[in-house]
């Protein structure tokens, strides 16, 4: 079965660049690009939702369907 990739939506209007999502991602999917977070390696994402759960600023959404 082919792995379906999620869509990671990052709202740059809300992101304050706190690094929490980057540090707590177990698969190193995200990186800081300038002030904001951006997706580095979407293929590695295991949809654990840790980034969405821990983002204090409502800036990340992981859409899995």
């Amino acid at each position: 079965m082919e792995k379906t990739l999620p869509i990671i939506e990052i709202n740059e209007k809300y992101c304050k660049g706190c690094h929490i999502c980057v540090e707590f991602c177990p698969k190193d999917v995200l990186e800081m690009k300038g002030f904001y977070v951006s997706v580095k390696n979407l293929e590695a994402c295991i949809k654990c939702m840790q980034c969405e759960l821990r983002c204090p600023d409502f800036a990340i959404k992981v859409i899995t369907d």
């Binding site: 939506e9 209007k13 809300y14 304050k16 660049g17 706190c18 690094h19 929490i20 540090e23 707590f24 939702m49 969405e52 759960l53 821990r54 983002c55 204090p56 600023d57 409502f58 959404k61 992981v62 859409i63 899995t64 369907d65």
Partner: protein
């Protein structure tokens, strides 16, 4: 699937005022998930707060909200609950708001065992006013008013609430984000005064004065010091040195609830006429 926080948020209010990495946003998300799990109605739910960083929270949530005087959230909430006992009343605030300036209202709300939930976000400091030490600043730690270390012993909010008569006391941390909503759900369902202390981080006024290099380091410290209450049963006193217990720490269902008792007073007064 991503959780739809938008349906509980007032449109146009984000981004919020909290600093980068502040745990209050994580607690707010936990509260929203809890309210969604409980299927609370917006018109039957009231969130009240005093003054402070954490007390800005009701401004973002779309339900009945009241932003009151410093430390007086419990006093206003008592009035609201007495007048409208069917409302779900949730209080939010910080450690300074709840235990220093509002300490009196807090202990008396605990004593009365009135049916409401108090979420105290303990970030060890007065964040909004410039980083003064609060009753929860650990001994020896630095604040803007204690640059050589805080000489005061600090409050244990859990023990304070238990001693004052609260019937449900729990503790979580901003690191254990998926536990926050579970604790709040249980607290709101409890009939009586329930206190949920969430240990939080304040990178701007507390972290930078106490040699925390980053928000992530502060979060990892919360991870290190937290011990679930069941795991603590198997640990020795030595191993528990410097740790804090998390989870539901106290629950008493035998103590009568205040608004129910007051309804009996009303009945007695009517019968005596």
């Amino acid at each position: 699937m991503a959780f739809e926080y938008e349906k509980w948020l007032r449109p146009g209010k984000l981004p919020h005022i909290w600093c980068p990495g502040c745990g209050h946003g994580i607690v707010m998300k936990g509260l929203i998930r809890a309210m969604d799990t409980l299927k609370l109605k917006k018109e039957e739910t009231a969130i009240l707060s005093g003054i402070g960083c954490a007390s800005r929270l009701p401004g973002y949530i779309d339900c009945c909200t009241l932003h009151t005087a410093h430390g007086r959230a419990a006093a206003f909430a008592t009035g609201l609950k007495m007048a409208r006992p069917e409302m779900n009343v949730i209080l939010v605030g910080g450690d300074g708001d709840g235990t220093a300036i509002g300490g009196n209202h807090f202990i008396h709300a605990c004593r009365r065992n009135i049916d409401m939930t108090y979420i105290i976000m303990n970030n060890y400091i007065y964040g909004m006013t410039g980083g003064q030490f609060s009753p929860c600043t650990p001994t020896g730690h630095k604040a803007s008013t204690t640059p050589y270390g805080n000489p005061d012993p600090c409050f244990d909010i859990v023990e304070l609430a238990k001693g004052a008569g609260a019937t449900f006391v729990a503790r979580g941390t901003a690191f254990h984000a998926n536990q926050i909503d579970k604790l709040i759900v249980e607290a709101v369902q409890h009939k009586g005064f329930s206190v949920v202390e969430i240990l939080d981080d304040c990178p701007t006024t507390y972290g930078r004065r106490n040699k925390f290099k980053s928000v992530v380091e502060m979060m990892n410290r919360l991870k290190e010091i937290a011990v679930p209450v069941k795991a603590a049963e198997k640990m020795t006193a030595e191993q528990l040195q410097g740790k804090v217990l998390t989870g539901v720490l106290y629950k008493d269902v035998t103590k009568p609830e205040y608004t129910a008792e007051y309804a009996k007073v009303i009945e007695r007064a009517k019968a005596s006429k």
